[in-house]
């Protein structure tokens, strides 16, 4: 017995993403965004994508390339504040946007990764975010049904990985990556460092490789990770 090897080239991994896919994209602002996978997805040009990401990055970065390239029909997100292009596209009706409270988006994705059907929560009750949502009564309390969000594809950025797909993350580059890495039928992780099997200790693994389908070693770190000088 040995663990399977799931390492693959960048183009071959991204070529597995079909048109029309729902795609989870890690990252909160810059840290943890899989910039190299996103750039290859732009190059290959898959269309009619539904993206799920905490934010829309900033204009000219990350998923903004896919938005500008007309590859995205819908975005499920928590906040677009730093991307004026995305806001303009939303306001013009060129992009359908579904907003979700940040922690509820994380929980919906996690529920998808945990094989649950939904969560019941009081978050957003009596606000606009509750509009149109199914309500359940439990112990006399009204609760919102927030359905699990499982996707066709997840694009993950890891700090370290091994060929089986065990992943570890850096600092606040975790954010949505660990939940998303469990919640798609095709999980593709790009990694800054690829250790041999056994190069990650079983204790430091944060996403077990059993959830991950393909591992792409980055040949260089995208310049988009550079410290943003504002």
């Amino acid at each position: 017995m040995k663990l399977p090897d799931k390492s693959l080239s960048l183009d071959a991994a991204v070529a597995r993403i079909p048109d029309g896919a729902t795609v989870l994209v890690g990252g909160f602002g810059v840290p943890g965004t899989p910039f190299t996978l996103l750039r290859e997805l732009m190059r290959q040009g898959q269309k009619d994508l539904t993206l799920v990401k905490n934010d829309a990055n900033e204009a000219g970065m990350g998923i903004d390339h896919l938005l500008a390239n007309g590859q995205v029909k819908k975005l499920i997100t928590t906040h677009l504040g730093l991307n004026a292009n995305a806001i303009a596209m939303m306001n013009d009706g060129r992009l359908e946007v579904e907003f979700c409270a940040q922690g509820i988006l994380a929980e919906r994705i996690r529920a998808g990764g945990a094989g649950l059907s939904a969560i019941l929560t009081d978050i957003g009750l009596e606000t606009e975010l509750a509009e149109g949502k199914q309500i359940v009564e439990m112990d006399g309390k009204r609760l919102l049904v927030e359905p699990a969000l499982r996707a066709d594809v997840a694009l993950i950025h890891a700090d370290r990985a091994d060929p089986f797909g065990n992943l570890a993350y850096a600092a606040t580059a975790r954010n949505f990556n660990p939940a998303m890495a469990m919640a798609a039928d095709l999980v593709i992780a790009e990694t800054e460092r690829l250790a041999p099997l056994g190069g990650l200790s079983p204790e430091e693994v944060e996403t077990p490789g059993a959830f991950v389908d393909q591992v792409v070693r980055l040949s260089e770190i995208s310049e988009e990770y550079g410290v943003v000088r504002r």
């Binding site: 909160f28 602002g29 810059v30 840290p31 943890g32 905490n54 934010d55 997100t77 928590t78 906040h79 677009l80 504040g81 730093l82 806001i87 946007v97 907003f99 409270a101 940040q102 922690g103 509820i104 994380a106 929980e107 996690r110 929560t121 009081d122 978050i123 957003g124 009596e126 606000t127 606009e128 975010l129 700090d159 993350y169 850096a170 600092a171 606040t172 580059a173 975790r174 954010n175 949505f176 990556n177 660990p178 939940a179 990770y225 550079g226 410290v227 943003v228 000088r229 504002r230």
Partner: protein, 216 residues
């Protein structure tokens, strides 16, 4: 100190030893500079960190270490990193003692609106709804009026709500105002500001306490 700095310094005194505190984007993050160095307190940022240390200049920044507002922060002894699910578990499960948030409008019933101006500004609420709905104590930091001089403390909010009835206290450039069952109560006055000025700048009834009103 100018009026804004005094407001920040006053808000900092809302934080007591042992608290876990989330400071919203903008003005609230400035509170850090006014916390005593030896005070035991844990700052939380919703993108996944407790124990936030000082903001670093660009040349010392770690590209993987930001707060929810995008500032490059640093760890302190005892810091922890975690993912978004754990971060909001902490918020929703009652482990957040206090959040200081910005506001477009606050109502005398404790309602808060701080995420959407229909037709003008609707980029999404981020983590604000959960912070406002679930922190054990919610306080707001805001200028008393908007740039046009319109009051931001109102009898009822006109904008879409972030959370209902959750704001306990408001720190402004003019005053400290509590939200009570009876409505807004004036607790403190900024230096050089009169009760009349605060009343006129407030879009709801402002109850005066029987006691002296301290200055800050």
């Amino acid at each position: 100190m100018d009026a804004r700095t005094r407001m920040v310094a006053r808000a900092a005194r809302e934080i007591t030893p042992g608290m876990v505190v989330n400071l919203g984007i903008g003005l609230p993050t400035k509170v850090v500079d006014f916390l005593p160095e030896d005070m035991p307190v844990c700052l939380h940022t919703e993108n996944g960190m407790t124990g936030i240390g000082p903001t670093l200049p660009d040349e010392e920044a770690d590209r993987n270490l930001i707060d929810a507002g995008g500032a490059y922060v640093s760890p302190i002894p005892g810091s922890a990193y975690f993912d978004s699910t754990v971060s909001f578990a902490l918020v929703r499960s009652g482990r957040l003692d206090l959040t200081l948030l910005g506001a477009f409008e606050v109502a005398e019933n404790g309602d808060l609106a701080n995420w959407k101006i229909p037709g003008k500004f609707s980029p999404g609420a981020g983590g604000a709804i959960e912070l406002a709905q679930k922190a054990r104590r919610v306080a707001v930091m805001t200028t008393h009026t908007d740039r046009k001089g319109n009051p931001k403390l109102l009898s009822r909010c006109t904008l879409p709500l972030t959370a209902r009835g959750r704001v306990a206290r408001i720190f402004t450039d003019l005053a400290v105002v509590d939200v009570t069952l009876e409505g807004f109560v004036l607790r403190e006055l900024a230096d050089g500001v009169s009760v009349k000025e605060v009343s006129e700048a407030t879009g709801a009834k402002l109850i005066l306490p029987d006691t002296d009103i301290p200055r800050f």
